[in-house]
Symmetry: C2
DNA sequence: CAATAATCATTCGTATACAAATGAAAAGGG
DNA sequence: CCCTTTTCATTTGTATACGAATGATTATTG
C-alpha cells in the first residue's frame, strides 16, 4: 500500500482509496444511470442520442456545432451522433443559406414523433436515477451537482 | 416544444429541460473531472488506467475479472486497459497456478513506482474537482453521490 | 461421478469521447 | 479591401464502455 499518511501519533493510515474518490463515484453513478436509461429505452436510443433529440425539440433547428455545444459534445462526437440519427430518419441536415460553413440539423416528422413519445420515459429515467434519495436529498444533490458542470 | 404540462390554471409550461436532468449533469461533471485529471496527469495515464493502478496498489495482485469488478469495468473494458498498461510495462499478467481460467494481474516494479509517484496528483485531482464547493457541500455531495452508485 | 451451471478470458461489433490536423468560409482589424 | 483570426465541418487515431458470443475450465448438484 503506497498511499499512506502518518497521523500525529505516528499511526500510518491509507488516505487514498479509489472507492472514495469523486471521479470514481461519478463514473459509477453514470453507469447506473445508463443502465436505467437502457431499461426504459431499450436499444432504440442511447442517452446521447436522446440528448440530441430532446435538445432539438427544445431549441429547434440549429447548426451541428451549436447543437454539440448545447448537448456537451465535441465536434467529432456530435457528428457521429447526428449521422446515426440521420441514418435512422430522426434528423436531417441541410446547408445553411446564410453561412456556407454550416449544416443545419433539424428533427424530421418521424424524429419529432419519436421524441414526443419518449418524454415520459425520459422523466422516468431521471426519477429512477434519483430514487435512492429522499426528496430533500434529490434537491440538494441536483443543486450541488450543477455547480460541478 | 413537445415536453409540456398544464398547470392548475391552464398554463402550459416546459417540464423536461435537458440541462436539468441528472444524467446530463452527471455527464458534464465527469467531462470536467476528466479535463482536470488530464491537466494534472498529462497524456501519461487516463483516469481509467489510473484506477487500475491505484486499485492494484491497494489490493495487490488479482485476476483480471476481479480487477474489473473492483474498478467498475466490464470484462472487455478491463482487458483493453490491462493490455495497454502491460504494453507500457506498468502491469504484468501470469497464469493462476490454482485456476487455469484465470490470469493474475500485478504491478511491475516500474508500475509500482509510477503509482506511488502519482498519488499526490490524484489527490489534487479530487480536490480540484470539488473546488467549486464549500467544505460542507463536498461532504454532503460525496455522501449523497455514494448512494447513487 | 456425470450432467449442468457458473466463472473466466477473449473477441467482435457498435457507440461515445476527445485531441489534433485539415480545408473551407466568414468575421474583424488596420 | 486585404490579411489575420475565428468558426465550421470533417477526418484520423486512440481509449473507454458494454452487449453478445465463444471456448476453456471450475464448481455444483442430483
Amino acid at each position: 500500500m503506497n498511499s499512506t499518511v502518518e497521523t500525529g501519533d505516528g499511526t500510518i493510515v491509507a488516505d487514498y482509496l479509489l472507492d472514495e474518490q469523486v471521479g470514481f463515484l461519478l463514473r459509477q453513478a453514470i453507469q447506473r444511470h445508463v443502465a436505467i436509461f437502457e431499461s426504459k429505452f431499450g436499444a432504440d436510443l442511447t442517452p446521447t442520442q436522446w440528448a440530441v433529440l430532446a435538445k432539438l425539440d427544445e431549441i429547434g433547428a440549429t447548426s451541428q456545432n451549436r447543437l454539440g455545444r448545447a448537448t456537451a459534445m465535441d465536434v467529432a462526437t456530435i457528428k457521429g451522433v447526428v449521422d446515426r440519427l440521420a441514418d435512422r430518419g430522426f434528423v436531417m441536415t441541410a446547408p445553411d443559406p446564410g453561412d456556407a460553413r454550416r449544416r443545419v440539423v433539424s428533427l424530421t416528422g418521424q424524429g419529432a414523433e419519436e421524441t414526443s413519445s419518449r418524454f415520459e420515459a425520459a422523466r422516468a429515467v431521471s426519477e429512477m436515477t434519483l430514487a435512492p434519495l429522499s426528496v430533500a436529498e434529490r434537491r440538494t444533490f441536483l443543486k450541488i451537482l450543477s455547480k460541478l458542470v
